[in-house]
Symmetry: C2
Subunit: 533 residues, 2 copies
C-alpha cells in the first residue's frame, strides 16, 4: 500500500526519502557512505536465520514464544524462529492470517467496526488484493516468495496507455500517459534548448556540455534542430488516431497538439515522478493468484496447530522470566498462555488498547504513531472492456478525483472478467468509509464514467470495498513511524521479554518488506538473547 | 524484432515515424486528421473476417488457394480464409511453421546456410525467442492471442534496475537506469529552472506558465527551490547502497552524484526515449511459454493436413484463371499444385529468386526492399544470478558494446535456470554471423563480464545463436519497405491471381502485427474478388 496526497505515493515517498531529497542530508549521507563514515547500524549485514544447530551445538534448548498478531510480521517471526525449533504460538484476532495482506475472492466476507457486512460475489477466476498489491525488486518480500515457493508475476505499476485526468484543472477528457509525456518532455526540451541557444546557461555549460545536451534534447524531446527553432510540434510518440498498418495505412498521429500553456495548466506532469521512486519504479511484482499466497505459505510452514484464529488478546503481563498473555479464545472462553518471550506484532494503536504492565513510557510511546487510512473499491466487470476498447492491459490511471487511482488488473489478461480497483487515501478514504458499501460503488462509478465512458457502469457485476480504518483489529492502513524520537527508539528495544515487531518499526511502513525486515531484526535479537542465557 | 543503430529501435522507429517526427509532416497529417482531410485509405475501417455464409448466401462457392510460406502472414491468410471454407494449402520450405517466429528449446536444431549446425541443449523449463519477442498493447497480434486462446504475460521491455553502459564514453562501470534517469532529469531540471529564473524564457512563458513549470521541475527533477539555487544534489531515486529497513536502518542513498559534465559525457540519456516510442512503450506482452505459441495455435486452427513442411517452391506460373506452383516436396520429388489464387507470403528477396512469369516489373519491384539483419545469442545459466545478485527481474540492459542489448528473461522468475539474450543488428550481426557458434558465445560473454562480473562466464551452461541473414529460406531479419515508391504500390496489388503478403508490405516491418495486418488486407481483397466473380 502507499500513502499519497495529490500525487501517487507522495506521503510514503516523502517518508522513505526523509533522509533528504531536498535539504541535502541525502547527499551528506551518500558522501559519508562513500567515505566509509556511515554509522555501524547502516552496515549491510546480511540476515542469518536461526538454525537448530545453534542450540544443539551450544547445548542450550530453544524457548517458548507467544506471538501476538498473525499478520506478515507475526507470521515471519514464527517462521524464522521455527527454523531453530522455537515453540511458537500465534494468536490472531481475525478469522484469517495475513493482517492487511487480505485478498478478497468469491465468498469472502468482512464485517466492519460499524457492523456493516459485505460478501464478495466475485467470479472464480478473479480476486482483489484489498491491502498490499505490489512488491519492488529490491524488497526482501521477493526473497520470501522465492524461499516459500510462491510464484510471482509482473505487477503493472505504470502503463503508457493508461490515462491521466485532472478535473479541477479543467481537462475535458482524459489523456494517455504516453501523450502527456510526449508533450511535457517536448516542451521542456524546447525551452531548455532555446535557453541554451540564448547563452542563458553559459555559466553552467561548457561547449561540449552544450552539444551533448542539445543532442539529448533533440532525441528525448523529439524537437526540431536549430534551424527548426528547437520547436516541439508533436511526435508519433503521442499515439495515433489510426494505427500504422498494412499497405497505404501509414497511420494518423494523434492530434492536435496542445499548447505549452495548456499542457502546463493541465498539470499532467505531476504524476511523472511517481515511477522514479525507489519503491515504485517498474518493474514491480505480485504473487500469482493473490497477495495472500504469501501469508498462506508462511502459515503452511509454521504449521496450522501453532496458529490460533479468533483469539483476542485481553491482557499482557511481563515478568522477570516470562510473559503471560490473557486472551479470549474462539469459543469466547477466557484463557492465558505463558511463554519465555513474547513478540507483539500488532499495530501500535491496537496494542495501546490492551491492558499491560509494560509501563507508562511504553504506553505513551505506542501513541506516538500517526495512523493513516486508505481504501480500495473493487469493481468486477462482465467483460474486460479496458483491454478491448481502450487497449489498456494493466497499469494505473491517475486522477484528481476523490477515487484517485484506477488500477487495471495485472493478471488474467484476455480473461472472461476482471476487477478494476480504485485506491485512495486519508480524507477521501474516510469520506467513502462513511458511506454504505453500495453508496461507495455508486459514487466511484460516477467518477469512472468520466474516464472510461458508460461501460464503467453498464458492465459492472459485483463489488467489494475496504476502508482500512473500519476493519476490526486493524483500524488503519499504516502507522507513520516517529523516526528519531525517543518513542521510536524505545519500542525498537524489548520491554522486558516482550519485543515489538511490524512495518511501523521500520523505514518501510505500509510495505510488507517493512514487516519482514522488522521480524528479522526482532528474531535476530531474541535468538541472540536465548543463546546467551 | 527491432532494428537499431546506436540507440535501441532507432532504425525501426525512424521508419514508423517516417510520417514526420522531425520535418513537421507528422504535425501536418495530425492536423489533416483533425480536420477530416486524411485520405480514405487512412480511415479506421475494422477488419471483417470472411464467413461461410458469405458464400452460402450468395450462392457462390469458395476457392482453392495456395499459400507460399508458413510464417505469420501465410498462416494468418490460411486461418482467415479458412473461416469461409476456402481450400487452402500452405507450402513451407522449413521444417517448422512460424518463419522468423522461431522459439528455441532443448533439442531445437538449426543448420545455417554455411552448413553450421547447432542444437540447443537448453533445460526443459526455459526457452529463447530467437525472432520476435515483444508485442505492443495496440497491436493486432494481441487480438489473435485472444481469439486463438494463447495466454499472454508482460514482456519486460524496460526496468529501472537494469543497467546502462557506454564503454566508448569512458564509463568504468555500468549505471542503473534509475540512477542515470535521476541524474539526467535532475540536471535538466536545474538548468531549465535557472534559465527560467534568469528570465531567458520570458518570451515563451507567462507568469502562470513559469510557476507551473518550476513546480513541475522541482518535483520531477528532485531539485532544490529558489533558495536552494535550484540545485540538483542527488535523490534517493538514484537508489541505495544500503536499502531502507527496520529499526535504525534508514538506508544509505547511493553516492556519489556525478557532475553535470560527467553525466552528459557518459551519454546515458541516449537510451531514455526508447520507452516513449509508440511500438516500444511499456506495457508490452509475450505469449506464455514462447512466442511460437502463436504459429502453433494458427497451425492447429488451419489444420495440419493443409500445411506442408519442407516443401520448397521452385516456380510460379500465373494464368488467366489460376496459378500453378511447382515445388520440391519433403521427399525431394518435384510436384506442382494449381489453385484459383496464390498468396506469396515469402520475404521479397527470397521470392525474387524463384522463377516466375509475373513480369519484369514485379521482379524489379521485389528487389527494391533493403534487407536488414539481426542476431540473437541466448545464454543459459545454471542460476538466476541477475535476480539474486543484481535484483534485476527482467528488462533490458543497454550498451554501446557490439552485443548491444542484454535481455533478462520475462518469465520463470525465481526459477532454477534462465536464459539471457543478446540482441543486436546490422554490422554487428554480420560480424557475429561470421564467427562459429562457440566463438560468438566467447566474444559475447567477454562483453557481458564487463556488466555483470564473472558469473556471466562461470554460471554459463548452454547457448544457442541465430544470425538471421544466415537462416535458410529467410536470410534476413526484416525488409525495409520502400513506402511511397512504384515498387511498393505495385506489390500492394495482385499480379494476376497472385497476392503478396508480409510485414514487408506494411508500415510495421519486423513486427508480427505487420504480417497480420498485411494478411488481413490480402484476405479482404481476395475474398471480395472471389465473391464478385
Amino acid at each position: 500500500m502507499t500513502g499519497s496526497d495529490r500525487r501517487p505515493g507522495l506521503r510514503r515517498r516523502d517518508f522513505l526519502s526523509a533522509v533528504g531529497v531536498a535539504g541535502g542530508a541525502g547527499t551528506l549521507l551518500a558522501t559519508m557512505g562513500a567515505l566509509g563514515l556511515t554509522p555501524a547500524a547502516q552496515a549491510d549485514s546480511p540476515y542469518r536465520a536461526p538454525r537448530r544447530s545453534d542450540f544443539s551445538l551450544s547445548g542450550r534448548s530453544s524457548a517458548k514464544v507467544v506471538i501476538l498478531g498473525g499478520g506478515i510480521a507475526g507470521l515471519a517471526c514464527a517462521y524464522e524462529l521455527g527454523k531453530a525449533g522455537y515453540d511458537c504460538t500465534v494468536l490472531e484476532a481475525r478469522d484469517r492470517v495475513g493482517g492487511r495482506n487480505f485478498t478478497a475472492r468469491g465468498g469472502t466476507t468482512q464485517t466492519d467496526v460499524r457492523g456493516d457486512r459485505q460478501t464478495a460475489r466475485f467470479s472464480d477466476d478473479v480476486y482483489m488484493n484489498t491491502g498490499p498489491g505490489r512488491i519492488a525488486q529490491w524488497m526482501v518480500t521477493l526473497d520470501y516468495c522465492r524461499e516459500l515457493g510462491v510464484p510471482i508475476e509482473v505487477f503493472t505499476n505504470t502503463n503508457a496507455n493508461a490515462f491521466i485526468y485532472n478535473e479541477a484543472a479543467g481537462m475535458r477528457e482524459p489523456v494517455r500517459y504516453r501523450t502527456a509525456k510526449a508533450d511535457m518532455y517536448g516542451y521542456v526540451s524546447e525551452l531548455l534548448a532555446k535557453a541554451t541557444d540564448r547563452r542563458a546557461l553559459d555559466a553552467e555549460l561548457t561547449k561540449a556540455d552544450k552539444e551533448r545536451l542539445l543532442d539529448f534534447l533533440q532525441d528525448w524531446g523529439a524537437i526540431g534542430g536549430k534551424a527548426g527553432s528547437r520547436r516541439y510540434t508533436g511526435t508519433p510518440r503521442r499515439g495515433y488516431s489510426v494505427d500504422p498498418g498494412a499497405g497505404d495505412q501509414a497511420g494518423v498521429p494523434l492530434g492536435p497538439v496542445p499548447s505549452l500553456s495548456k499542457t502546463f495548466a493541465d498539470g499532467v506532469g505531476r504524476y511523472f515522478s511517481f515511477e522514479f521512486d525507489y519503491d515504485q519504479a517498474m518493474l514491480m511484482f505480485q504473487p500469482v493468484g493473490g497477495m495472500d499466497r504469501i501469508p498462506m505459505a508462511l502459515a503452511r510452514e509454521v504449521g496450522g496447530h501453532r496458529i490460533r484464529l479468533r483469539h483476542v488478546v485481553t491482557r499482557i503481563t511481563g515478568g522477570p522470566d516470562d510473559v503471560t498473555v490473557a486472551y479470549r479464545d474462539s469459543n469466547g472462553e477466557q484463557r492465558q498462555i505463558t511463554a519465555d518471550f513474547c513478540v507483539a506484532a500488532l499495530p501500535p494503536h491496537i496494542l495501546a488498547r490492551i491492558p499491560h504492565n509494560l509501563g507508562a513510557d511504553v504506553q505513551n510511546a505506542l501513541r506516538a504513531w500517526q495512523v493513516d487510512t486508505a481504501a480500495k473499491i473493487g469493481l468486477e466487470y462482465r467483460s474486460r472492456w479496458w483491454e478491448t476498447d481502450h487497449r489498456i492491459y494493466g497499469g494505473i490511471t491517475e486522477t484528481d478525483l476523490d477515487v484517485e487511482h484506477f488500477w487495471y488488473p495485472s493478471h488474467g489478461f484476455h480473461g472472461r472478467r476482471g476487477i478494476l480497483v480504485n485506491y485512495f487515501y486519508d480524507e477521501h478514504a474516510r469520506k467513502y468509509g462513511d458511506l454504505s458499501p453500495s453508496e461507495r460503488v455508486r459514487r466511484a462509478v460516477a467518477h469512472g464514467v468520466k474516464i472510461h465512458g458508460e461501460k464503467h457502469r453498464t458492465e459492472l457485476t459485483n463489488s467489494f470495498s475496504v476502508a482500512w480504518h473500519l476493519i476490526p483489529h486493524i483500524e488503519g492502513a499504516w502507522a507513520v513511524p516517529p523516526v528519531g524520537t525517543p518513542a521510536y527508539r524505545l519500542l525498537g528495544k524489548p520491554a522486558g521479554r516482550l519485543y515489538f515487531a511490524g512495518d511501523w518499526l521500520s523505514h518501510l511502513t505500509g510495505w510488507q518488506a517493512g514487516s519482514f525486515d522488522s521480524a528479522r531484526l526482532v528474531v535476530s535479537h531474541l535468538h541472540e538473547r536465548a543463546l546467551s542465557h
